[in-house]
């Protein structure tokens, strides 16, 4: 009987081995992540057409509902980490993809689609678990309201600015004469890190780069402040838990319980083996302890293969802050001068620069600048 039992355990272990060998170290499809980063690179370097195409692809992927997919199913299983799923980004990253696509639409004077993009980004932020931080991406509110103004819709503009003032009551709304939007991005992207035992907890850290700078621009000799509208670290870290976190945590708990149970069985087996010689049935006790030990090892083997790591892939060339302002410029204005002040109110003169004004076909200007 004991031999049969031992044989069964052996078979079980063999099956576990076969199953385990079928598991592989895989990471999910990073196409969206790569496109987010290359789309931004093209945007920054002036490859606007290519950037449009890339961000269209990104948004197509974001908007495609993966009701069920192999990669998502795999990432959900006990044996694979979360990063086995195809990357779509966390809400703040998806929102920023809509933000860049919206800016590209603005440059093309496609105001309706620009507004749709900015609102699309705002909707991604609506998925936040914590109600007070749901859809609080104020810069997207400003940009959608600005787009509504450019498309000539008074009521959509008013709706947008009314919403914005709920979140940024001190922001001075654009004057009716303003025809140019100024956006300055500073700092480095928030980072994602895996924390906790088994790396099952997703945490955010500020990007390593320029922090807490104020931005000013010079126009006709006057120094104008830009409004620090958005902190991406705040957007990333105040979202609250994700539904997927419960699955990942469940994996971690399972892993821990399997390891503890396996370890407990092994200890029992060891103790039984140590005392077996005191009894007449020492050989039977030794065999039982061997079986228990094997089961314990099997449990621990299963535990080692449970992968509860969260997905820490992140859009690395995002900024930390968005500073915005609107202004009235003459159509012949070619460029604006920008200066930067650190948190001790000292100028950071090495960052000073001049940036060109891009005029669309309807005479509306956009100035965009990134400082890291």
């Amino acid at each position: 009987m004991f031999k049969q039992l031992t044989s069964s355990i052996s078979t079980l272990l063999t099956l576990i081995l076969l199953f385990e060998s079928a598991l592989v170290c895989a990471s999910g499809n990073d196409e969206v992540l790569k496109n987010m980063e290359s789309g931004y690179e093209q945007f920054q370097s002036g490859g606007l057409k290519l950037s449009e195409q890339i961000f269209d692809q990104v948004l197509l992927n974001i908007e495609t509902v993966f009701a069920d997919s192999d990669s998502a199913r795999k990432a959900r299983s006990l044996w694979y980490s979360e990063d086995n799923k195809a990357f779509k980004g966390e809400p703040y990253e998806r929102s920023m993809a809509y933000y860049y696509r919206g800016l590209l639409y603005l440059l093309n004077a496609e105001y309706g689609n620009a507004r749709a993009s900015f609102l699309g980004g705002l909707m991604q932020d609506a998925f936040a678990e914590e109600a007070q931080h749901r859809s609080d991406f104020a810069s997207l509110m400003l940009l959608s309201a600005w787009s509504a103004r450019l498309m000539g819709s008074d009521y959509l503009e008013k709706d947008g600015f009314d919403e914005l003032l709920k979140f940024r009551p001190d922001f001075i709304l654009p004057d009716a004469t303003h025809n140019t939007l100024v956006v300055v991005e500073t700092g480095a992207a928030p980072r994602k890190l895996a924390d906790g035992i088994g790396h099952y907890e997703l945490v955010y850290r500020k990007g390593k780069g320029l922090e807490d700078v104020a931005v000013k621009m010079t126009h006709k000799g006057a120094l104008l402040d830009l409004y620090p509208m958005e902190d991406l670290y705040w957007q990333a870290s105040t979202r609250g838990g994700r539904q997927v976190d419960r699955i990942v945590k469940g994996k971690a708990v399972f892993k821990s319980e399997q390891a503890n149970f396996g370890s407990g069985l092994s200890k029992v087996a060891n103790n039984a083996l140590m005392v077996s010689e005191l009894f007449e049935e020492s050989s039977e006790i030794a065999l039982v302890s061997g079986v228990l030990s094997l089961v314990g090892v099997a449990q621990m083997a299963v535990a080692t293969k449970v992968d509860a790591r969260v997905d820490t892939r992140y859009w690395s060339n995002l900024p930390a802050m968005l500073h915005v302002q609107t202004i009235k410029l003459e159509q012949d204005t070619k460029a604006l001068d920008f200066s930067f002040i650190d948190d001790f109110d000292d100028p950071i003169t090495e960052l000073n620069q001049t940036t060109k004004v891009v005029w669309d076909k309807n005479g509306n200007g956009l100035v965009w600048l990134r400082v890291e």
Binding site: L59, E63, A72, K85, G112, M123, V244
Partner: protein, 210 residues
């Protein structure tokens, strides 16, 4: 003893075997193939898809063709059908020319001369050619010469609107679209024809993305 050796062997292999191989997605590729643009796609989200474009323009075509003010006049009216005055107030990004161009071309084909289509979207092209002719750079061609380009009697306008809803507990999203089309008398400013197309889509992403 023999069994014990086997067990030890199996356990040893189990313990030392590590996650060492690399997965290669060797799913077979798919050659380019035609798909039915009038059918909903598996990959579509809650925005406007190709089947919505074809569905709504087909519906507008039928509706316009049944309009007596436009189609039963003794003298064929001149109309402008393009997307210039279709505004997108929705949360869906869409190339409005897909609507304007498909509608104009389908309508032109179906009207068979009962409507005259003014190509205002290409008026720059016409202006340049007229200038060349009048400057004597090119001859007058074989068509008649006119004082000016054609003025229109009616023009298409419209709005794309949407209303989004999100169930925060399940993160199920839905989007209702209402797309209105109106033909406006370009002298009186009255609406001589109007119709609408509406649809709602809902979807819920995999829990791994929530």
């Amino acid at each position: 003893m023999n069994i014990q050796k086997k067990i030890v062997g199996v356990v040893s292999v189990l313990l030392i075997s590590a996650c060492s191989s690399v997965e290669i997605d060797n799913t077979e590729g798919q050659s380019s193939s035609y798909v039915d643009s009038t059918k909903a796609k598996e990959t579509s989200g809650v925005g406007i898809g190709s089947n919505d474009i074809t569905g709504m323009t087909d519906k507008m075509l039928s509706s316009m063709m049944a309009n007596p003010i436009l189609l039963n006049r003794d003298k064929a009216p001149r109309i402008i059908v393009d997307a210039e005055y279709i505004t997108n107030e929705s949360t869906s990004r869409v190339n409005k020319n897909l609507l304007g161009d498909r509608l104009r071309i389908q309508l032109n084909r179906a009207a068979n001369g009962r409507l005259v289509f003014v190509a205002r979207h290409l008026s720059d092209m016409v202006s340049k050619e007229r200038e060349l002719k009048r400057d004597g750079m090119v001859d007058a061609g074989t068509n008649r010469t006119t004082q000016a380009q054609a003025g229109a009697d009616y023009r298409l306008g419209g709005r794309i609107m949407s209303h989004d809803a999100l169930q925060t507990d399940t993160q199920k999203t839905s989007r209702y679209h209402l797309i209105t089309f109106e033909m406006i008398d370009l002298e009186l400013g009255t609406v001589v024809w109007s119709d609408l197309y509406e649809f709602e889509k809902s979807a819920q992403d995999n829990v791994m993305y929530r």
